[in-house]
Structure formats: structure tokens, C-alpha cells
Assembly symmetry: C2
Homo-oligomer: 244 residues x 2
DNA sequence: GAGTGGTCTAGACCACCAA
DNA sequence: TGGTGGTCTAGACCACTCA
């Protein structure tokens, strides 16, 4: 038992196993929603005890990369119809009500990445990106003006029609159409005044205060995949954050 | 071995032990910075195995309530001089520079809690609160206008002089003077326009966009202890958030 | 060298689920 | 009923710290 697994760096066994599982996830060996082999199977395969495999999976579960279901198995995280629409969206209605979420696509074009974009998305400067603009409506009121940038090489086949077909649920489209799961995201928030153009789109006065949310989303292995800038009207909504 | 510990609800053993440890923390049995007994000691005391105690402490550690130090022991989380000043503060300089943080106390008075405050702090309406206003300066520039509300019964002896003595590091004062550790906080962010009064204090034009951060901080056992409203100038800073 | 947390094992029993 | 994850044990060895 416990034949050491060959890895360059010293790592606890359970982390080496975690790395192997992550590698399989990246390679697409199991897609979103699939069951992964049982703890016992992994234990046998890697020649370690079940408890060690468990600890590796524990970490993946705490990062929401994988979901455990007692009696059934462990599954690659997928995002339910309802949840995925709001993936990473922390905007909550002031009165706590559930709201109708609507999507109005403004444009979807191919263009060249600016240097700034290229650095953030870790792609070559000037390579082709998909540039999307859209309006999100909550209960029929425009609340968020979004700009989304995607590297075209990976996000093949993203068109206005596709987006419309998914009713603007971008992350659902990434997952089901392209097999791309977002694992985490970084956000930078500032307050800005609405420009004339933005004010017009959101039915505001020029200079009205807006919450600007810049988001970079990552897939397995800390690879940045999507850049987003949302300008949010926070008259009836707030951004909620829990700190520990 | 494994004599069941009497608790009303069914809980795994390690959670029952976690609850006992939390109770001791609330009672102040060990203060911030103190070492808690070793895993083996707890195991003997509670009649469980070391692994079970470990799992209980694991959870406390992952919540930053306790800190493990290999070879030394496990310690009640304390916050270093540098860290505690910025406890929960997610505002980062645009250029990533380290900054001088300065504090200018504007006022510190006793008043009666409004109904809204009372609900949020879970105190009786109309009970006495301490109402603090201050300005935070980054590199000598005013960036945050803070209002802080504390229940007076718990935060005895908080005066302008005390605050000045701690150079505005409120959480450090709570910890060292009152033995109150904040464990987590909820924040609500919106964008607002500066009122005339606020604009004046932050050297801005009236209506300038500001990031409004409302924060409720909790101590052990999910007890709200401090309410705060910060109005932040985000010309040279942004609020950083990592989503998982 | 004694004591601490960190890792790992082998095996047990439980709760849950599906066929 | 058999397989899954969830909990728990007892004991082992390691890495680190400090006297």
C-alpha cells in the first residue's frame, strides 16, 4: 500500500490526489453533472486509503467544484436552471422580493483585444475577442448594463442567436454548449457617474451614481475566461457580501 | 470511550464538540491570542478520539476563529497590528501601493437607537448607543467617511480619548480593551451621490458618486455588535471581492 | 526529547439511496 | 440488499518548536 505517486514537488498525499482529480476535470474526463468514481475506487486506483481520497475530495467540495450526495455519489458541480442565471450575481432586491429577470441583447461583435484585455484574459494582444453588450432588466426595469468580453478561440460559435436562445444566461450557455464551467471570479467595485450614453440606456439622468462591477471569471486551474463590466443601478438593489 | 455528550439535537460528535468550544470562546474562557488546550487534552476530556476533536477544530480554523501553529498549538484568532487596522476593509489602491492610513475623529456621542438600528443590532429600541463619525485618510487624502454605531451597554468606556489613543483602529480597541472579537461581517454596497455635507468633508463636488458600504459585524455565536456605514471615494481605490 | 499539530491507515458502523 | 457518502476510532509516523 501507499506506493508514492510520482510528483515533482513535495505535497501531502491528499493534495497530490486533489491535483490529479483537478487535472481530470480540466481534461474534461467528467463533464458538469457527471458522477465521478467513488472514494473507494479512487483509493484502490491510487493505492491509498479511502480517508485520504476523502480529504482530497473534501477540498474540491469546499471550493464548490464538486458536490457530494449521500448515498448517491460525488458529482461535478453543475448549476441548476435557477442558480446559474444568477451565478456570481450578488445583487439583491432591497425588499427581498423574487424578481423576473430579463435580458436585452444590444450587440455582439468580433473585435481585437486591447492590451489591457489581453493581459487580463491572458491571451495574445490583438487576438480576436467576442464583445457583447446587453441590458439586464429586473421586473421589467433596466438595472444592469453589461459588457462582456470572451476570447473567440475558446468561445467558438457564440452569436447573437445563441445568446438569445439561452435568454441571456451566459454561464448556462458556457456550461451546456461549450463545457466550460466557471469556478471562481474576482470582482472590483467602484462608484461612477452615468455617462450620457449609459444614462440613456438605463433611463437615468446623466451623472447619476452607478455601481461599477468589473468581473474576471476563472475556470479550472485558475484560467481566466471571461471579462465583464456591469454598471448597476442601485436604487432598489444592493450588492451583498459576506466577509469572514 | 465515546460516551455520548448530552445535547438536545442530533448532531455529529465533532459538531457537538465544536459547539462546546464555541461556548467556551463566548464565555471568554480563552481570550484572543491565548492557546487553547491540545487536541489530545480535549479528546481525553470529552472521551472521544483525537481525530474527532481535530475535525471540530478544523471547522473553527476554516472560519478564522482559531489559528493552528504546527509544533506550538492552537490559538484563539487575534489580529496583528497591521491586519487588524484593515479588518474587513476591502478597499485597495488602484496602483496597488501600500498607503499611510490616518484617522480623523469628527464626533463621538451617546444617543438613543432608532428602530432600524435596534433591529439590526438586536437590542431594545431606544436603548443607548455610541454614535461615532470619522474620516479615514489614505496617504493624507480623505477617502472614507465613516459612521459607527455601537450598543453602549457592551461597549462601555468608548470615548473620543480612547479612540484617539488607538489611532482609530476600532477592532483593535474592541479586542484588546473589551475582549470583543469580530468573527464575520455582512456588507451591503450601493452607489450614491454625495450630499452637500459629505461632499464638503471629502473635498468633492455635490453629487459626486460614492461607494456606500453598510456593514454589520458579528462576534462569536452570530451576535451583531457593530453597525457601520462608510462612504468611499473610489477615484483611486476599488473594493475587491473574490467569489467562489 | 517531549509535546504539538499534520498526515495516513484500516477498519468499523451509520444514514441514505436505488434497484 | 449493496453501494455510496458521513462519522468515528485507535494507532502510527512525520514535521515542527522549544527547552
Amino acid at each position: 500500500m501507499n506506493e508514492t505517486i510520482v510528483t515533482p514537488l513535495f505535497q501531502p498525499l491528499y493534495r497530490q490526489i486533489k491535483a490529479l482529480l483537478t487535472k481530470s476535470l480540466i481534461s474534461g474526463e467528467w463533464g458538469p453533472g457527471d458522477a465521478i468514481p467513488s472514494e473507494m475506487e479512487f483509493a484502490a486506483k491510487f493505492g491509498v486509503s479511502q480517508g485520504t481520497v476523502r480529504k482530497a475530495i473534501d477540498e474540491l467540495a469546499s471550493e464548490n467544484i464538486v458536490v457530494r450526495r449521500q448515498g448517491k455519489g460525488t458529482f461535478v458541480a453543475t448549476h441548476s436552471e435557477e442558480v446559474i442565471k444568477l451565478r456570481f450575481l450578488r445583487l439583491v432586491a432591497e425588499d427581498g422580493s423574487k424578481e423576473l429577470l430579463d435580458n436585452k441583447l444590444l450587440s455582439c461583435v468580433r473585435s481585437k483585444a486591447t492590451d489591457d484585455m489581453a493581459i487580463k484574459l491572458k491571451i495574445k494582444p490583438g487576438s480576436v475577442v467576442i464583445d457583447i453588450k446587453r441590458l439586464l432588466l429586473f421586473s421589467n426595469k433596466p438595472v444592469i448594463l453589461d459588457r462582456i468580453i470572451l476570447p473567440a478561440t475558446v468561445f467558438k460559435g457564440v452569436t447573437s442567436e445563441r445568446i438569445e436562445a439561452f435568454n441571456g444566461s451566459m454561464y448556462r450557455m458556457y456550461e451546456t454548449q461549450l463545457g466550460i464551467s466557471m469556478v471562481r471570479a474576482d470582482e472590483r467595485l467602484i462608484a461612477v457617474g452615468a455617462t450620457a450614453e449609459v444614462a440613456n440606456l438605463l433611463s437615468l439622468k446623466k451623472g447619476a451614481p452607478l455601481l461599477s462591477i468589473e468581473r474576471l471569471s476563472y475556470t479550472y486551474g485558475d484560467k481566466p475566461m471571461e471579462w465583464r463590466l456591469g454598471l448597476c443601478l442601485t436604487d432598489d438593489h444592493y450588492y451583498f457580501n459576506q466577509l469572514e
